[in-house]
Amino acid sequence: MRFTGDKVFKVLVAVIAASALAILIITGYTLSVGSMPVLQKFGLNFFFGQQWSPAAGREIFGLLPYILGTLATSGIALLIGVPLSLGIAIFLVEMAPRSLRVPISYLVELLAAVPSVIYGLWGLFVFRGFMVTYIETPISKYLGWIPIFSGEPGGLDIFTAGAILAIMIIPTVASISKEVISSVPNSIREGAYSIGATKWEVIKRWVISYGRSGIFGAVILGLGRAVGETMAVTMLIGNATSFSAMPTSLFNPGQTLSSLIASGILDASSPFAYSAYIGAGLALLFMSLIINVGAHFVMTRVFKVKGGAIE
């Protein structure tokens, strides 16, 4: 009897495990079928075209501005969010007294529990003003001659959306990095101290170096969140469409794949336009997959990680 029980359990668990793969395949299939009309009409131009016009009879759909917009906001999110997250993680593990460590870790993780529409609202009413007054206007004044900082800062733009994403990825990146850094064996720190390393050197040359693959994993998870995040971005990015959505300046309104879908799909006037938004979803799914597969490649080939350890 116990033997049969084991077998049943094994099959059950295998089915559950397989369902994860099945969900991914079904999602991909559904999106592919749904976007077939636009893909058939535009082919690869659907991904590399710059125009987006749902006007009946003269429909034309190209995703390039939104793909680039997604990359731009996610890039800004990493650029700002990763150093902050690492700073938090290093402080918590290497410096904070135990009495601070637990409450601050808890607060950081609590940031993840804030619904993204709240970040959007806060961004709209508080953060946007802050960005315009203290960040964008000074940058525009002194560095406005650099193309990516050109234009009049209005607050509803790629930079603000990227900055809010940076805040939103902090809990993910910081809490995983914290776990990675605390898993660095103390014997390594002691060895480094014993040859005359300062605290900063121990962190920089030993702790980060030992935990680099784990920290890289944390960054990828953060990137995954940044690429897919919808609500807050939709509320803050300015929702440009067509040519004007090309992310040429950080201070211009833009659009990401997810914000394009969220802000447009309810107004889709025809089944064909509807199919274009589903196609945007397919592109988003592909981007996420490519990022994850690419990250796995970097982990195994560049860092030579096998079974979680650096070779």
Partner: protein, 273 residues
């Protein structure tokens, strides 16, 4: 245990070495240490002579490792750790407020219980790491120091073709010798060893012991060990510690053949430990 504790009170030796010993390379004067509220060391004083091996023996938990870690200010790295007293290096207190612990750790090297080569660094970089911290970047002089240090620990011939491989790719005994090479690459004055053979097999242990005896020609060595035979084989002086106190300190021959303290005698003869 109770009888021992009572004996401990009655046979507590009068404190020695309270005056500065001008012949000592390092000298501990009335060192007390705590982890939180728990007192680990009680007024321990001891001097380490240049070009000698000093062994610290005693049962587990007697404070010998903690005491050793006071000699290069590693003790203070543990949260809640506290230490009172003086430790002199060439007559100067290393706990003086003007002294940077980083400088002390370059002069007083350390080898740990478990071999801990840096896994993200090559064998070469493991040896060179300390020098790189001081600003020596690359070049011939660094190559020479690495080679000389590895030769001193008789590891050069075994790893000279694999210098680029990770420090953790070699055997445990080799790793421990690599860690000794890492310490001596900085040309310290004193080397502290915290049970350096406890994770090694007998052959690797014999190599390390031979090395310890050679090292004293250049450095003063302090070795903590739970292995009494090892202490008698390698050391010139032996300190016996028990429950955070230094019970007896003297020439190794005297400690092992003619201990003055009854507790030392009991420990040496294996009556407890």
């Amino acid at each position: 245990m109770t009888t021992l504790a009572q004996e401990n009170i009655t046979t507590k030796p009068s404190q020695v070495f309270q005056e500065i010993d001008s012949n000592a390379k390092m000298q501990a004067i009335n060192v007390d240490a705590w982890f939180g509220q728990k007192q680990i060391l009680k007024s321990v004083s001891l001097s380490v002579k240049p070009h000698t091996v000093t062994a610290i023996i005693g049962p587990s938990g007697c404070g010998k490792s903690t005491f050793l870690r006071c000699f290069n200010r590693m003790h203070e790295l543990v949260p809640n750790a506290k230490m009172v007293g003086q430790i002199l290096l060439d007559g100067k207190n290393i706990y003086d407020r003007r002294i940077d612990p980083v400088q002390i750790r370059r002069r007083v090297g350390m080898v740990f219980q478990k071999p801990n080569p840096f896994p993200t660094m090559s064998i070469y970089d493991n040896v060179a790491a300390g020098l790189k911290l001081t600003g020596v970047k690359t070049g011939k002089s660094l190559d020479e120091v690495v080679k000389r240090s590895l030769e001193q620990v008789t590891l050069w011939d075994e790893v000279k073709d694999d210098l680029k491989k990770p420090g953790t790719s070699i055997s445990g005994g080799q790793q421990q010798r690599l860690c000794i090479a890492r310490a001596i690459a900085l040309q310290p004055e004193v080397i502290l060893m915290d049970e350096p053979c406890s994770a090694l097999d007998p052959i690797a242990t014999a190599k390390i012991e031979k090395l310890v005896i050679e090292l004293k020609q250049t450095y003063a060595v302090v070795i903590v060990t739970h292995n009494m035979q090892q202490a008698s084989r390698v050391s010139d002086y032996t300190a016996f510690m028990y429950l955070g106190e230094l019970i007896e300190f003297g020439e190794t021959g005297q400690i092992f053949e003619n201990p003055k303290n009854r507790l030392t005698e009991k420990y040496i003869t294996g009556e407890f430990g």
